[in-house]
Assembly symmetry: D2
Homo-oligomer: 135 residues x 4
């Protein structure tokens, strides 16, 4: 998937996500800090929900870089390690790309490269029988 | 937590979340369908990442209704069951509110009341020693 | 799946699991308390690892009751709510049985019917292309 | 925790777990292949439930190596990557040891060092207020 394909998603565009790297089995994307994404007024912490969204997007891109298009998320887990006070970067790698599912591990870091959250997600692969697409 | 407190979060306001119900151990919130939240241009599917965010918000509200303020998310799990083609509603209930953690179960349904996703999340409780707040 | 088929698994037999109920989309099994399964000498708490194993077995049985044989586990999540001081019973229900995956929710209760743990697991379905079987 | 302390658990002894390595933030343990742990008669595959148990044990040991005794599991996730046809080894590392919780990542490999399963678990720390111990 190219960076321009990546931005055909209205949600990706809305978040102003930048694609930093897209290789076979690897994806790295950046989410800029914006006031609408803050947890509380006057806080400079991103809401945990948007961190979860970024993890889903990055994992999906890493699996798609191996398997092609059409990859609904089956399930997603996020562990929050520390609050994020800056733009954040999600780096995802494909752990497995099998016949029916792909698994990705995702790390989210702040500008100082501290680990903010870690995620793991399972995606349905395009070769599967027509499970209705999600994600 | 009152509905007005709920909307002190810029992210909650940005998503235009409506609070439908807020009781001891229960929270129900609605996310309107908006073009920016779509997965693909021309699609009427919400992005899975925004579903995950809504699950985090609803679970947090359910635990907060029992335990009070300041509840960073420790971890979050989402299972996607079907695509959502409408506004969605998340109903969360507190499964456990212990001394240090709270656990919530969350169901997300579309306008036809079909189950779109299910979530489970663990939150840190305010009585805990000062773990840096997240979420 | 009948109770006798269930016991063709050496691991199921070894744990001395009893099948209490097996219906379309539902399975209920019981694990007797045995000294080898304890967490510590002199304790009467079951080890959390064996609770996880019971959850996997029950969820698998619930999905199999709908979909037939051959259901490797894709992933498994367990939340521990309280220690178990007795035999325990796991009740599983199928939340979704799609074309490629099945999802089960599992509750584990002690003899007094208190909730000990809750689980959620995703299983690969037999109709899927030949993903090597697990579980 | 020393290897001999590790074996005060009846369940650990029963599984005949060997401690291969125990350092600050790291634990490596081995589970020998035994007929009782097989998924099916005549199969040489370990049951997925026992893989989950091993992951819980290894993650607990890694966190305990930093934080000391008394670490009930809060929650556990296992992703199964391939069937295991041999003894298996679980390597766990502490990802975070905070004031109230610890998080561990665990890899399970077969004798040929292929990845069989990956796990992630959250443990309660001894400094926390008296949440009743689990695991």
């Amino acid at each position: 998937m190219s960076a321009s394909e990546f931005l055909t998603s209205p949600f990706h565009r809305f978040l102003q996500i930048e694609v930093l790297r897209m290789e076979e089995g690897l994806a790295e994307i950046r989410l800029p800090l914006r006031p609408e994404l803050l947890r509380q007024e006057g806080s400079d912490w991103l809401h945990g929900g948007i961190v979860a969204a970024l993890i889903d997007i990055a994992g999906n891109a890493a699996i798609r870089s191996v398997a092609g298009a059409g990859l609904p998320t089956i399930d997603l887990r996020v562990d929050y390690l520390r609050p994020s006070r800056s733009e954040i970067t999600a780096s995802a790698k494909a752990v497995k790309v099998g016949k029916t599912i792909g698994i990705a591990d995702i790390e989210v870091r702040d500008r100082a490269r501290n680990l903010v959250a870690i995620g793991r997600a399972v995606y349905s692969l395009p070769g599967s029988p027509a499970e209705p697409a999600r994600s």
